[in-house]
C-alpha cells in the first residue's frame, strides 16, 4: 500500500554536540524516520542547508519496499559529516512515495528531551 509523498522538508536541524547516558541509545541524535509502505524500493536523496554556506549533498539512502529506515543525521558521512551544534535544515526527495518524520533526542543534560513532528510535504 503506497502512501506518502516524494518531496519533504525539515526546517529544524541541530545535532547536540554532547550526550549523557549509554551509547548509542541515549546519544544525542537527530533522525529522519523514513517509511516506505509501497511495493518498490525508494531511492532517497537528502540535501542539507546551512545558515552561512552552500548546501551539502546529496546524501543517499535506500528504503526498501515495505521497510522503514530511521536515518540518524549524525551518522551521515558522505559527502561529509554534518557539524555538531550548528543549525541546519534538510530537503528529502524520493523516487517513490514515502512518509518522513523528524525526531531529536537531546541528552546534553542529565535527563533526555525529545521532539518530533511529521515533516512538511509536497505532492
Amino acid at each position: 500500500m503506497a502512501i506518502g509523498r516524494t518531496q519533504w522538508a525539515i526546517a529544524e536541524g541541530y545535532i547536540p554536540g554532547t550526550s549523557h547516558g549509554p551509547a548509542p541509545a541515549m546519544t544525542s541524535h537527530e533522525a529522519a524516520c523514513l517509511l516506505n509502505a509501497g511495493e518498490r524500493d525508494a531511492h532517497v536523496e537528502i540535501m542539507v542547508y546551512f545558515t552561512d554556506r552552500d548546501p551539502v549533498g546529496p546524501y543517499r539512502a535506500l528504503v526498501p519496499a515495505r521497510r522503514t529506515v530511521h536515518l540518524r543525521f549524525n551518522e551521515l558521512k558522505d559527502p561529509e559529516e554534518i557539524p555538531r551544534d550548528t543549525p541546519y535544515a534538510s530537503i528529502i526527495t524520493s523516487d517513490e512515495p514515502i512518509v518522513v518524520q523528524h525526531t531529536r533526542l537531546d541528552s546534553r543534560q542529565a535527563e533526555n528531551a525529545l521532539l518530533s513532528t511529521i515533516a512538511y510535504s509536497e505532492a
Copy 2:
C-alpha cells in the same frame, strides 16, 4: 460530526525497553491516539513496518462512534508483541474517518520526556 481521514502513517516508532516511575502512568510507552467523532463505529487496522523484516499485522482495534481510544503499541499482542528498543513505523487504516495523533513517553531516565505529532494522512 465526522472529521478526519481513513489512511494514516506514523514513520517514527520506538518503544523504550526500560522505565522509571510508577506503572502504568510513567511506563515508557508509545501511543496512537485515535479519535472517532462520527456517528458510526470505526474498524481500525494497523500494519507495523520494520527495518529488516516483513511487516507484521494487521493489528485490529475498534473505535466506537463518538469515542477516543489511546492505543498503546506496547500493549499490542495479536498477532505478536512489538519488540522493545527497535525502530518501527506504522500504517493505520479505518473504515470511517478518524484523526490520529502519535505520542511517546520515554522514562528510560529518571525524568520523563514527551513527543507528539498529528500523524500523516491521506484522504
Copy 3:
C-alpha cells in the same frame, strides 16, 4: 489577515493529575492555543471525547479579532471539569478561521516535559 480553518481536532488529550514546581507556570497542563489573525471575533466551541462515555460540551471560548487565546483544558469548568489522568480528545469549531496548536506541560516528575503539534484541520 484571516488565516486558518474552522474545524480542528486534537486526538491526544491527558491532563496529568500531579505537578512539581511553582503554580501556575509549572503546573501540569494541556492547552489549545487559538490564533485569530482576522478582523472579526471568533466564537469557538469545544467538544471533548472520552473512551467510555458520551462526549461533553460544548465548552465555549471567544477569541477576539487579532488576538490569541492559550486555553488551558484544566481550567475549563462549564459544563463540567475535565477529569485528570484520563485519556480524552477534542474537536474545536469556530465561526471564523483560526489556527490551533496543542501543547502539554507535564511536571509529574521533578523536571518538566513538553509536547506540541499543530492540530488536524479541515477546511
Copy 4:
C-alpha cells in the same frame, strides 16, 4: 528547488523567563526555523499576536537563497522585544516559498525540555 509556502502560522508562543545551563545553547528560547531552498532570497515578515493588546510588527528577516535561518524570538528587538512569560502567537509571511518549523527549548528547570512542530501553512 523551491519548496514551501508563503504564509505560515504558529499559534503557540511563550518565551520562558528563566534558564539553567550555559548560554546561549541552553538558554530558554523559542525559534522559528525558516528554510529557503529556492534560488531567490526570501524577505520574511513576522506579526506577533497577544492575548490582550494589538499585534506588534512586522519584524523582518532575510532568508537568503538556499539557506536556513533559525530565528530566535527572544532575540527580536525591532520594533520591540517580545515579553517573557507571556502567551503570544505569530504569522509569518514571505515573498518566496519557505518552510517553517517551530521549536522551543525550556530550561526553566534543571533539565531542558523540547517541543517542535511544522507550522500551519496556506498556499
